[in-house]
Amino acid sequence: MKPLTRRQMAWRAAQDIVDGAYVNLGIGMPTLVSDYLPAGREIVVHSENGILGMGGAPRPGAEDPDLINAGKGLTTLLAGGAFFHHNDAFAMIRGGHLDLSIMGAFEVSQDGDLANWTTDDPAFAPGVGGAMDLAVGAKEVRALMEHTTKDGAPRIRRHCVYPLTARACVKRVYTNLAVLDITAEGVVVREMIEALDLASLQDVTEPKLILANDWKRFSAPAL
């Protein structure tokens, strides 16, 4: 059994984004999703700092210091893209105009509660950015995170331990081990990586898992 790399996780999340979707990709791992958007689909990437139609990283020599993404990395604009101010960017988010927000997470609860803004680590000042806006505003929220902490503790919890970003917002979770849906019935395993069994997955997951009837194995290309 070989857990997915961060890039493989981003790749897996990218495969589910449908043609024509308006999506926001959070800072950190979700930003990598934009590298793996499936060919042949026109997907409009939104950025909190006033961009729709964001492209990938610029070619060397084509960098523009005035054109950055929400993670403050250099980016580009596709044909058909537009610039606007911060308040319009958040009217798009809060007003329910984004089809999908993919965010990193510290924890997701069995009810879809999301904790991704602070661990109360006294070594750092807390920062929230646009996480609460996205969690509340996007039509669908999906989390992209390692299945466990570095210490092996589950990140999919009965109840989040860390302070909440928003309640009952996450519908799907992509981890390095599985794809899981948060449903009214509970946490449903849709996909597992090769050679992983449900019992082993349950060992690193706090709430009781439900294996979907049509669950499948999945693997990602080497990335």
């Binding site: 024509g20 308006y22 604009l77 537009a82 610039f83 319009d88 809060r94 007003g95 329910g96 105009h97």
Partner: protein, 219 residues
């Protein structure tokens, strides 16, 4: 591929049904999507709630819908625009309801609807007849009333140019309510004078980004 272009006015208004709330952009006839509005007639829809700054000019657009008795209620700031005789006649006959809203509050309520704001406090209309019945409170020494967002089933828009992603550019004072209403309609439909190739509208000067628009038709 994203292609919001539709080939006809009929396709542009398909699915709009009786009883719906319809935002109609424009200030008087300027920026009013007259052809889209009139395309509602053959659909046979009735009991519409029209939200617009005015209540129809002459006998076209909103006025025609009202004359044909398709409108149950108008939410507007100023029904007495130039030549409001159709609305006036229906109103005096008691056949149409009027909700009068101060123009800036109307705009802000629509904006709140599109921006996911649950309500806002404003001094405008506080202590006046138009503020009666609204929750009121003093904030920083001034009386405010709580205003609710306006969300609509449909927003009908008129722009100068549009593209297949739904990006829109308006012309001069025809912009008015158009960019405010686009986000507040569950379905937003724009008639444009001219279709532009994707990528030819200046990204620094797109007045309504395509995310807010569902269909674009040349009319």
């Amino acid at each position: 591929m994203i292609d919001k272009r539709v080939p006809s006015l009929a396709a542009a208004v398909a699915g709009i049904a009786s009883g719906m709330t319809v935002l109609c952009a424009g200030f008087g006839t300027v920026g009013e999507p007259i052809e889209l509005i009139e395309a509602l007639l053959p659909l046979g829809v009735r009991d519409l709630v029209i939200v617009s700054n005015n209540a129809g000019t002459g006998e076209r657009g909103i006025a025609l819908l009202i004359r044909e008795r398709r409108v149950r209620k108008v939410v507007c700031s100023y029904p007495r625009t130039s030549d409001p005789h159709v609305f006036e006649a229906e109103f005096k006959a008691g056949r149409i309801e009027l909700e009068l809203v101060p123009q800036g509050t109307l705009s802000e309520r629509i904006r709140a609807g599109g921006a996911g704001i649950g309500g806002f406090f404003t001094r405008v209309a506080a202590g006046t007849r138009l503020g009666e019945g609204k929750e009121a409170r003093e904030i920083d020494g001034a009386l405010h009333v709580l205003e609710r967002p306006i969300k609509a089933d449909v927003a009908l828009l008129r722009a100068e140019r549009g593209d297949r992603w739904g990006n829109l550019v308006y012309r001069k004072s025809a912009r008015n309510f158009n960019p405010v209403m686009a986000p507040a309609g569950a379905l937003a439909v724009a008639q444009v004078r001219e279709m532009a190739e994707l990528g030819t509208l200046d990204p620094e000067a797109i007045h309504t980004p395509g995310i807010f628009v569902d269909r674009v038709v040349v009319a």
